[in-house]
């Protein structure tokens, strides 16, 4: 397997975004790209990532290779890369190590790192694709801000999508608060659009702790897509260049469980 990434920044940010949820995971590499699927320890959230072959130039992978990596170790190595370094991942067919090469685009600096791999025996769990009742697209910075603001008040947020708009509200010991967004189109800056696509009204409650964690991916994409249906996990999707994506699923809170 060999994959060359124009900017190390992309991988850096992806790993940064998920490393608090997952410690060890398998990167499944095949001819279509690199995929990752893992659950957090408490089994409340699931991370799913797909970096399609198009995101790399070039990309070559002849057979399926699972690459088990400890994300903490990977972060350490990725710190050694400049944001706009060219990053090359190399692994053999049944690898013990993965090789990372950083080439500086300006100078002739070339750094090379090997990471020892782990053999992770893990059930492969996925969330079946479903039709969602509500799909909200909004600027990722906006979503991040809402989550950060509300966590000051409470541990959980209820997201209510109606025809009027989408309302994020929470109630805590010191008081309560809410943020309402309406559909809105900004012609000059399309990335600031808020679109609400609603089949039926939805209201669900989620843990803010996890949402704030998801928001670490905001740097990856200007906009974020939230998909909701009653009694189905929330899907938070950050689109990446070349139809790759990073998705988070979060189980809704039911009743008064902690």
């Amino acid at each position: 397997m060999e994959a060359r990434l124009e900017q190390a920044l992309l991988l850096k940010r992806v790993v940064e975004a998920i490393k608090d949820l997952v410690q060890d995971c398998n990167f499944d590499c095949n001819d279509t790209g690199i995929a990752l699927q893992a659950m957090d320890n408490s089994h409340v959230a699931l991370v799913s990532m797909l970096l399609k072959a198009e995101a790399f130039s070039p990309y070559r992978c002849d057979r399926n290779i699972p690459i088990g990596i400890n994300l903490t170790s990977l972060t350490k190595v990725l710190r050694c890369a400049q944001n706009d370094d060219i990053l090359t991942l190399k692994a053999e067919d049944s690898p013990d190590t993965i090789n990372l090469t950083f080439e500086s685009s300006e100078s002739d600096r070339l750094s090379e790192y090997d990471i020892k791999l782990m053999d992770i025996d893990q059930d492969h769990l996925g969330i079946p694709e479903t039709e969602y009742a509500a799909t909200i697209t909004m600027p990722s910075a906006e979503f991040q801000r809402i989550c950060r603001d509300l966590i000051a008040l409470s541990e959980s947020v209820s997201i209510e999508a109606t025809k009027e708009g989408v309302k994020f509200s929470c109630a805590g010991d010191i008081g309560n608060g809410s943020v309402t967004l309406r559909s809105h189109t900004n012609v000059e800056k399309p990335e600031l659009n808020v679109e609400i696509d609603l089949a039926e009204p939805v209201a669900l409650t989620f843990s803010l702790k996890y949402l704030v964690n998801f928001c670490k991916a905001s740097a990856l994409s200007g906009s974020v897509k939230l998909c909701l249906s009653n009694e189905v996990p929330l899907l938070v999707e950050y689109g990446l260049s070349g139809s790759s994506w990073l998705r988070f699923y979060l189980a809704p809170k039911i009743g008064d469980e902690e």
């Binding site: 408490s42 089994h43 057979r63 053999d119 992770i120 025996d121 492969h124 769990l125």
Partner: protein, 1130 residues
Amino acid sequence: MPAITMTAQKRVLGDSSSVNRNVAPSPNSVKKRKLDRVPSTAGRFQGSQGSQNGKLLSSQPKSQFEEEVLERFTQDMFGLKQRNSEKDQQWNRPSLDDFDDQGGLCFQQIETEEGHLFGGEPTIRLFGVTETGHSVLLHVTNFLHYLYVAAPVSFKNSDCEGFREYLDTLLAQQYPAVASVQMVPRENLYGFQGNQKSPYLKISVTDPKFIGRLRTAIEEGNANWKGMWQGIGTGGLLTFDNLQYVLRFMVDTKVRTSYLINMSEASKRILPSAKRNVLQMAGMSWVEVPAGKYRILLARDRQSHCQIEARVNYRDLITHPPEGEWVKMAPLRILSFDIECAGRKGIFPEAEHDPVIQIANVVTRYGEPKPFVRNVFCLDTCSSIVNTRIKEYNTEKKMLMAWRDFLEEVDPDVIIGYNIANFDFPYLLNRAEHLDLTAFPYWSRMRTTQSLAKKANISSKQMGNRDTKTTNTNGRLQLDLLQLIQKDYQLRSYTLNSVCAHFLGEQKEDVHHTMITELFNGTPESRRRLAVYCLKDAYLPQRLMDKLMCLVNYTEMARVTGVPFNYLLARGQQVKFLSQLFRKAAEQGLVIPNMKNEATDEQYEGATVIEPVRGYYDVPIVTLDFASLYPSIIQAHNLCYTTLLNQKIIERMGYKKDIHYITTPHGDRFCKANVRKGLLTTILEELLLARKKAKKELAVETDPFKKAVLNGRQLALKISANSVYGLTGATVGKLPCLEIASSTTSYGRQMIEKTKEEVEQRYRVENGYSHDAKVIYGDTDSVMVKFGPSDLAAAMKLGQDASSFVSSKFISPIKLEFEKVYFPYLLINKKRYAGLFWTGTEKYDKMDTKGIETVRRDNCQLVQHVIETVLRKILVDRDVPGAEDYVKDTISDLLQNKIDMSQLVITKALSKNDYVAKQAHVELAERMRKRDAGSAPTLGDRVAYVIVKGAGGARNYERSEDPLFVLEHNVPIDTKYYLDNQLAKPLERIFEPILGEKRAGQLLTGQHTRSITVAASSVGGLMKFTKKTQTCMGCKKPLVGKEESAGALCEDCRPRMGELYQKTLHRVSELEVRFGRLWTQCQRCQGSMHCEVICSSKDCPIFYMRMKAKKDVEDAGNELARFDHDPGIW
């Protein structure tokens, strides 16, 4: 207890290999077989409904317990019958025919309490048993309680009567309360008094209940007759000799020498020569009343159920010291019982709602190996059990009353059981109250004394804080094995099951309390099953008691310290010592001040520890010990309350330092033995002498019962001698004397330092020795010396030499002993070391570890197990690489979830509710209470938990989980926690001195840590939404394609199908065999090969293994099934 786990495992494999072919390995077939059996049994039920259940017995296979234990009883009983007048299963005591009320009355007294005759006359009640097995209650009359107070200077003998009258009016009773005031010469124990007695007033009262008020009145200065006591300040007046009536009686009981004909010569020697006529009664000793001196009470005057009830004047009582013939024990009747209650689902039985359904009883006579009464009182019908009487009752009331009548008839002297004090007794009482059975709670020997359960809170340094209940059974001793074991042994878990596993080496099945109701509501057969279980629970405490020799050891402790038997369990350490002190003080005319109990925070310096020179020593390390350090210091320097000097007395007497007195390193002064011999010294000398004697007798004794008694005695004597020092330092105690305590430790420190100096100075190359000796460590009473030579024999010789050399530098009886050599020796830190223990040169005795995780309870068994194996490999096999490999393998297994869950369970006692900091076990107990209030642990229980993976940043206490819950829901275990927080530190400590820091570190981070398994839990918010995508068994690629998804392999791995199928099949069959073996093991343990296993014992390692194996088999079976759908199979 990894050792036990090991043997248990071995037994699984060993036992089952032969059975395996007969018993089908999968649980299904066992179930099937059981189902097959059901119709036939049911058919028989219908047929035999009229004729009760007699024939049913044959249809049910006998369990091992029945076959091996119960059936043997009758065979043995046959032999017993010929020797003994009592018959098997006969309840009542032997008849009084052989008792001659004109002869003497001689019995072993077991309990002593205050009482009154019907006339109101205060007495001491002595309960006991004669050698022929008759129960006795002896009322001892005319013994008056008294106290001392220092007489004022102007007080004359003629003033006594006047003072008595004055006190009498002061107490203002209808009849005379103060019997007499006498002026007697006595000496204050506390501080040296110049060897002079001064006048004291001995004030006796007619009834012991007045003594408290009299004491308060005097102490508060309200009894200052004619203002004779001058200068009573705010402190009040000091009274002397504050002890309970019963103890006072036991201390004071005197006998005339003429009755001492029976005493052996040897026993006379250890009696204080001056006062041979004063003999004091000890607990559990034999007493005798000569013919004609006692009066048998008339039937109408009797207060008790005892066969013989008599009264005697205390002057006519003879006490036999427990020597020679009198070390024997009366044939005490010991009842061991257990009750079963039918609880409701999810709730622990509550007496208000849940009936008692069975009571199993086992009665044994002391000294006989087999119980002579075995029965089960059952509610509803119950099939018969071999050799056991089943008493069936149709209502609970009838059953309870029948049991009470049984109790009265069988008249046990000792009642034992497991957790009877906190569960069985109070439950029965509450239940009877709920059912309005007013005649039920009379379990004592007194006809009119009702048994009541009282709440008590015992808190002591030794045992921590405990809520307990005490139930009075006057005249009958109680031994709750649970309390006793909790007090004397440090175990991981105190359930009957694990205690039996630890001491008797066998597991018992543990039926969950919800299961009991199910069994009870079933058929006579299922109730029989329950009855067998109940009977076993009643029989086990008896076996435990025999094994641990509790009764003998406690009896000896009572005899040595002179307190009543029941004080030993119910009271602390102090009373034992005080009783001895009072005895000795009474002999010498000393009185003991009633000191105010003032808790001070004053600390004194304790023992010293020589800074360890850490490392791994591959040469013999000699250990030199001071034998009984503190007692010998007290003796050598004559430290005592009675020899303590102050400046005033030194000046008055004109004493000179080093001629008349010494100054201890702590700066306190004590007079030398030639001025006055200390009381403590005398007590210690006697104790040590008696111990020597007991040991000597033990060596030649052949009778196993006498041997047990003697061994118990020497243990009791040792404990007593060592507790003397502790009492002087207990600031909250009755008689603290920090001068003694701190002087003792200061001498101790000095001696250790001096030993080090002497040894290092003498054994040097200059002095002709091969190496320079070095003291590498020293603690309290021992020093570890590296002499240098690598030869074991040479080191031992040097050790012998050094011990006699150093001993000669100290005052007798201080003695430095050479006892053992450690070779090799691993010194980790202060109070942490391990080594092979040698006393001879041929073979090591054992592996000795101190302060290393093998003995600590607050970590999981895995740690214990690993550390022990590692130490064994390093020290015994000298195989360091092997130890490293073992650690690596274990860590790798841990990370791949292959370690058995029972190894990871941590237990901690839930000791109080309001912890400031949140703790894992407290939080878990709280969560468990929310899930199921009944089965949740309560205060005092040990909570078992494992640490599971939690959300990022969750605290440890949030991640604790009930092991059973984890098993059921497959919650992933936080292996990282176990590695980093449990294993890492102890392993580093051991390996660092041997391998060096770098290589030791690699053990925890090397290649072997890179293979992990993450279990998929069935709890967690997202789990119900996810769909598992199968991965290829060859390369772990997710199988997503339509074709592949049901199959086992991906396109690329298809060529390997044969190999992988083989592998999976092999795995399945291996797991099936494993499960089959575990299942049969559990069947063996429950004692029947034909019933389903219902045990859910949380302490049993097999239980966790069985549950895990069951899951594994299921999972592996599913894996295998995937091959059926693989597109590549054809």
